[in-house]
């Protein structure tokens, strides 16, 4: 059994290096924010609007052929799914002169609204004509107008915000506000760190990324709560023990669980990343990274902040561990 090789009792003095951890985390968060502000995010069609078209790669339909035969500013790349190579074409609003007389007849306001849909129609028709394609040959064709994309972005951000607030309230209800602050700090740390990675690698940021971020938030709090539970338990048992030591024991005792669960989750998500096809790739990369920094932050960020703000929970004199409580 692997677990045999895991030391029975680790005694890593995590909290001795807590300032290193906190500084490291803060630096990473600042770097992430800086990256997002300077490099920006590679927003997918869900949030930026525009179109994505996927075709099966054949002898005729190749990335360079599509680039040379279809006019307009298109981004053409290749991708792989379960059954072969794909040609992926992305574009926003094309040059209006390409869009035909019907579009030109629209009012300026309508033009802004409909440019995205008209561009999509133009490219689809051009592809069908140039490569002699049928409808079924166009594997995917997503086109999102400016109105919906800005709404989706707003809704995604609201979802992240609401999730954060709910988590804060739940932890505050189950523990105290200092735990809530610690847990939320770790959650924000993980979310910002993941967004930073997306900016650094310019991975596509879309709706599934928001789903991944929400999962990371859930996982991060999950991880923090397991450590918090142990801190509370040890605190009740040994009332005189210094807080630093309490947290060290709690993190050490939960350490093998932290790594095992992190391990199985990463294994499962790796399977999605490798076999799940292009749609799920961004999502799974986000989750792998999120789980890694989430594991780190539950120890070094969440616990360290709880230590700074105070570990005491026992406001009520009698808790549900009567065996350790001296009756007055």
């Amino acid at each position: 059994m692997l677990i045999k090789y895991w030391p029975k009792e680790t005694k890593i003095p995590f909290m001795r290096y807590r300032y290193v951890g906190v500084v490291l985390s803060v630096v990473m968060m600042i770097a992430s924010v800086y990256l997002v502000m300077t490099r920006g995010l590679n927003l997918g069609v869900d949030f930026a609007g525009g179109s994505v078209i996927e075709l099966r790669q054949t002898e005729q339909v190749t990335v360079p052929e599509v680039r040379s035969r279809i006019q307009g500013s298109l981004t053409v790349n290749s991708a792989t799914n379960a059954n072969g190579e794909l040609v992926v074409i992305r574009f926003g609003d094309l040059d209006q002169s390409l869009l035909g007389p019907e579009f030109q007849a629209l009012s300026d306001e309508d033009k802004a609204e409909r440019a995205s849909a008209a561009s999509n129609t133009y490219v689809v028709n051009a592809l069908k004509r140039e490569f002699n394609l049928a409808d079924a040959d166009i594997l995917r064709n997503d086109s999102v107008g400016p109105k919906v994309s800005s709404e989706l972005f707003r809704e995604g951000m609201i979802a992240l915000g609401v999730a954060t607030i709910m988590m804060f309230l739940y932890i505050a209800f189950r523990y105290t506000w200092s735990y809530a602050v610690g847990g939320i700090a770790a959650l924000v740390h993980d979310a910002i760190g993941t967004i930073g990675l997306f900016s650094l690698l310019q991975l596509e940021f879309d709706l599934t990324t928001i789903a991944a971020l929400l999962t990371i938030i859930g996982y991060s709090v999950n991880d923090s709560v397991v450590v918090f539970d142990r801190i509370r338990e040890i605190r009740r048992k040994y009332k005189q023990m210094p807080a630093t030591e309490v947290i060290d024991i709690a993190t050490n005792q939960t350490l093998s669980r932290t790594f095992l669960t992190g391990g199985t989750t990463i294994i499962a998500v790796l399977a999605i990343a490798i076999f799940g096809g292009p749609v799920l790739q961004g999502m799974s990369v986000a989750m792998i990274w999120g789980i890694i920094i989430g594991t780190y932050s539950s120890i070094y960020f969440a616990a360290a902040i709880v230590l700074m703000l105070g570990v005491d929970i026992n406001r009520k004199p009698v808790e549900d561990t009567p065996g350790f409580e001296a009756m007055p």
Partner: protein, 535 residues
């Protein structure tokens, strides 16, 4: 914690057997199974089966301005009868959501009879549809010494949009699915949006063409000589007429006021003419048939234009009075064009032209690829996690793997039960759950290991392990459940599918990890008198 009375065992196995039965149609074809067994597999989302998703919006301003236009016509015809003697003459001027009516003829004292006009307009101003408070459709107020402003109150606007939304939903359904056989879904979203999901439909352009037509059908008498057409093309149109064109007929001058309108049409369908070419047949209702008969009787020898959205479809010559109200349009149509046109005519006129906001099309081949990718990822994920757990925890790990499998089956059963839709991100949610579901097991196993290390006997260690881990398991899972619920409430489309499987996965994993694994462990310990677990 360690006692499992018979009823509990029965309950646990009952749940698992129910899960297997519910999930079975996803694995094997159940169409020949006995009647009491479920036969339907989980619904697949558009991204897995292929199809078209279209989100469209009915522009509020256009709905209101078209209602104002109708009101302007009503006003014009109400005043036209008395216009010669009447001191009031007006020109309605549409300005987006309002309409300005200017009085142009002052009375003898040089005053404009605004009050009189207000009174008269109020008489033809109908109450808000479905409204109870007795509010009127339009707010008409004095805008100056010689003008009136017609606007729409917010209550009336809401009623108009609701009405437009209902009408558009009906029309969209009739146009896309005239025979009522296709498996399409139409969902209103917000006050003025409609989401159309059409599984299996490969061509969004055809759908968009079908839906972007106004569908305004009229029959107008033609009165045009070549000279009149030439002068109309030069910009001088004789009053009461419009210059329209058609692919078959070329430019013609038609009467502005139609003889028969779309609401006079009862049904329309695609048929074939004598030479077996596709044509469009339609039947007028009693009122329409009467008007049609009278028009054909009084206008023998003239051309009669059949106009759809300001394009002349056909302009046959009237040879004799036509009773019965059966009309047909011939022309060079393909069968599909004729069917689509018939559907458009039968469905009636859109309250306003819809705008397409979001379109997602997935071909069925890509859907199959995605199912394959998802299935492969799930198998690999499950196998790797299983190997990892057995390596880490030996026998107990094996129990955890059994409960993982039970978990996947229960997720599918739950999806079937509520009729949820499985999407590609949904499959990702299941795989993620496989990875995370072991967390509850791990928490318990670690606890048992610790208790054993502290010198407790196996039975007390197992007891303490489950007892102490329970609070942590619940706390930890509730937080992820929150995230999943928020994602479900605020997310859309495929992401919702992810939230659903994640949420079900969390609930079922607590059950399988905490109840099912525990039962297996205890049965094993009783059967083999185990002294300790090799951890």
């Amino acid at each position: 914690m360690l006692q499992f009375p018979a009823w509990k065992v029965l309950l646990v196995f009952g749940v698992l057997i129910w899960g297997v039965i519910m999930a079975l149609p996803n694995a094997v074809n159940m169409s020949n199974a006995p009647g009491f067994l479920p036969k339907k597999a989980v619904n697949l989302g558009l991204d897995l089966r292929g199809g078209v998703y279209l989100e469209m919006e009915i522009p509020a301003t256009e709905v209101i301005s078209s209602r104002l236009e109708v009101f302007a016509r009503d006003v014009r015809s109400a005043f036209a009868r008395t216009s010669d003697r009447d001191p009031i003459f007006f020109q309605p001027e549409l300005r987006g959501r309002t309409m300005l009516i200017k009085l142009s003829r002052p009375d003898a004292d040089g005053n404009f009879p605004v009050e009189d006009a207000l009174r008269r307009l109020d008489r033809i101003n109908s109450p808000i549809e479905g409204g109870l408070g007795g509010g009127k459709t339009f707010d008409i107020s004095r805008a100056g010494p010689d003008s009136l402003l017609v606007s729409v109150s917010s209550a009336s606007e809401t009623a108009m949009l609701q009405d437009a939304l209902n009408k558009t939903m009906t029309i969209v359904r009739r146009r896309v699915d005239p025979d009522g056989v296709a498996e399409i879904s139409l969902t209103p979203s917000g006050t003025n949006r409609i989401v159309l999901e059409a599984p299996g439909e490969p061509d969004p352009e055809r759908l968009k063409d079908l839906l972007s037509r106004d569908g305004r059908m009229t029959f107008n008498l033609v009165e045009s000589s070549p000279a009149e057409i030439a002068s109309a093309q030069a910009g001088v149109i004789k009053p009461g007429f419009r210059l329209l064109e058609g692919p078959e007929t070329g430019p013609l001058l038609v009467r502005e006021i139609p003889e028969v309108v779309g609401s006079d049409i009862a049904t329309a369908s695609q048929g074939n003419d004598d030479a077996n070419r596709p044509q469009i047949n339609f039947r007028l209702n009693a009122n329409g048939a009467r008007k049609f008969y009278e028009t054909t009787r009084n206008n023998s020898g003239k051309l009669f234009a059949i106009v759809l959205d300001d394009v002349i479809m056909s302009a046959p010559r009237i040879n004799e009075p036509i009773p019965g109200g059966n009309v047909r349009i011939t022309g060079s149509f393909t069968i599909e064009q004729a069917q689509d046109l018939a559907a458009i005519i039968a469905a009636g006129e859109m309250p306003a032209k819809v705008q397409f906001l979001d379109q997602r099309v997935v071909s069925s081949t890509l859907g199959e690829d995605s199912i394959e990718s998802g299935f492969r990822a799930a198998i690999v994920g499950l196998a790797l996690v299983a190997v990892f757990m057995v390596l880490a925890y030996g026998l107990q790990g094996m129990f955890a793997v059994f409960s993982l499998m039970a978990n996947v089956i229960l997720i599918f059963a739950a999806l079937s039960l509520v009729g949820a839709t499985l999407t590609l991100p949904g499959i990702a949610g299941i795989i993620l759950t496989i990875g995370m579901a072991v967390d509850a097991n791990v928490l318990v196993f670690e606890r048992i290991r610790e208790e054993q290390n502290n010198g407790r006997s196996l039975w007390t260690a197992v007891q303490a392990g489950y007892e102490r881990a329970l609070v942590t398991i619940l706390d930890a899972n509730v937080t992820t459940l929150f995230a999943a619920i928020i994602l479900y409430t605020l997310g859309s489309g495929p992401v919702k599918g992810f939230a659903v499987t994640l949420a079900f996965g969390i609930v079922t994993s607590v059950f399988t990890a905490f109840v099912f694994t525990r039962m297996l462990t205890i049965f094993w310990m009783k059967a083999f008198k185990t002294k300790s677990f090799a951890v």
